[in-house]
């Protein structure tokens, strides 16, 4: 088989490996009945997946009579594609866990059909924020002291700033309320 096809096959297999690894780790964590963030587990599995990928790519290039420069290119290519796909995988997984639109579809499906107001009652902003506060706490991004939430890590905060700036650049007004445009954003 041509080396180009071998690399493509390896990258496809790496995503199947990631899926299987994630299922195994997540099911094992659920069995242990400990508090966990499913997304954090997905991210850790995706990062771990780089190790077998690097190993397999290295083994593949070892058998080829190509220059070191070309070997580096193969490894760079494999890392780029794997991590971009793994990032998308984490997003797909997270969508099932957190996406508002998927949750709304689920609520409508359960009821058969819903009035706008009923949907709002079932899954309003309060419910939406409550779930996310719990998730951010589980992911060590925020912590609660005497009833007040404080930032524990700035990683997600800075990702949020970049995403918001990008949204503004694409001409979206994504401030949570119309009247707070200059309050800390």
């Amino acid at each position: 088989m041509n080396i180009n096809f071998k690399i493509i096959l390896l990258l496809i297999c790496s995503q199947i490996f990631l899926l299987l690894l994630h299922i195994a780790v997540l099911r094992n964590t659920i069995k242990k009945k400990v508090i966990f963030s499913p997304l954090l587990i997905a991210v850790k599995c995706a990062i771990f997946g780089n190790i077998p990928l690097l190993l397999m790519t290295w083994l593949l290039t070892m058998r080829m009579y190509i220059s070191v420069y070309e070997k580096i290119n193969v490894i760079l290519y494999a890392l780029l594609v794997y991590n971009a796909l793994a990032y998308s995988y984490c997003h797909i997984f997270n969508m099932g866990d957190t996406a508002r639109r998927i949750r709304m579809l689920h609520e409508i499906n359960l009821a058969g059909r819903l009035k706008y107001k009923d949907l709002e009652d079932k899954y309003g902003v309060k419910n939406m924020l409550e779930v996310r506060l719990e998730r951010l706490t589980a992911m060590n991004q925020v912590s609660r002291h005497q009833g007040r939430y404080v930032l524990k890590s700035f990683v997600f905060y800075w990702i949020g700033v970049i995403v918001f700036k990008w949204g503004f650049f694409l001409k979206y007004n994504i401030y949570p309320r119309d009247d707070i445009e200059n309050e800390g954003f």
């Binding site: 096809f5 659920i30 998927i102 409508i108 007040r148 990702i159 949020g160 001409k171």
Partner: protein, 180 residues
């Protein structure tokens, strides 16, 4: 492998990315996610076909046609795989920029109150139903996932199918459905 393949894949992605920025800055398409998919996933194929047509019909030979036709099928697939991997990564990040991810809103509200911190009620007071809830229902209708029948919201076949995919994914992970 030549670095040319990596450059081609990245370049193809950035061409689509640039077209996306130009379109969005001019006017937001009605079906944004579908448009993004069409732009990023179909454009490279159409680009290749159009080069092929120009090359065969008009025998136009320039740097682009020469370089594109110097790639064998395996290399071409590698270019497309890299482009699609980068495109998918962007497409899945896009909804947060479009719709204002509530988790990021919470973090921004907390950051603006540091070091004192905020209570749950203070966070709620920063977020309106109008901004975080309403537009998402309209997105579902625009994407033809939900239909509004005389004030009643009902799933379309497309919406039902999408939901089933996510329910299936949740089940294989042994996670409860509908807690997002």
């Amino acid at each position: 492998m030549d670095s040319y393949i990596i450059c081609c894949g990245v370049l193809l992605f950035f061409i689509c990315f640039l077209i996306h920025i130009i379109i969005w800055r001019l006017q937001h398409p009605k079906r944004q996610i579908s448009t993004l998919f069409i732009l990023f996933l179909l454009f490279p194929i159409l680009f290749y076909i159009s080069i092929h047509i120009f090359y065969t019909l008009f025998n136009i030979q320039n740097v682009i046609t020469r370089n594109v036709f110097s790639l064998n099928i395996g290399e071409l697939l590698q270019v497309y795989l890299l482009h699609y991997a980068l495109s998918l990564a962007y497409i899945f990040s896009y909804p947060a920029a479009q719709a204002g991810c509530p988790s990021f809103v919470i973090l921004m509200v907390i950051k603006s109150s540091m070091p004192r911190g905020v209570t749950k009620d203070e966070i709620y007071s920063y977020c309106s139903e109008k901004k975080l809830f309403g537009p998402r229902v309209h997105d579902l209708i625009d994407e033809n996932l939900v239909v509004d029948k005389n004030g009643w919201l009902e799933l379309t076949k497309k919406g039902y199918l999408l939901l089933k995919v996510f329910i299936f994914l949740r089940k294989i992970f042994s996670l409860p459905v509908g807690q997002g």
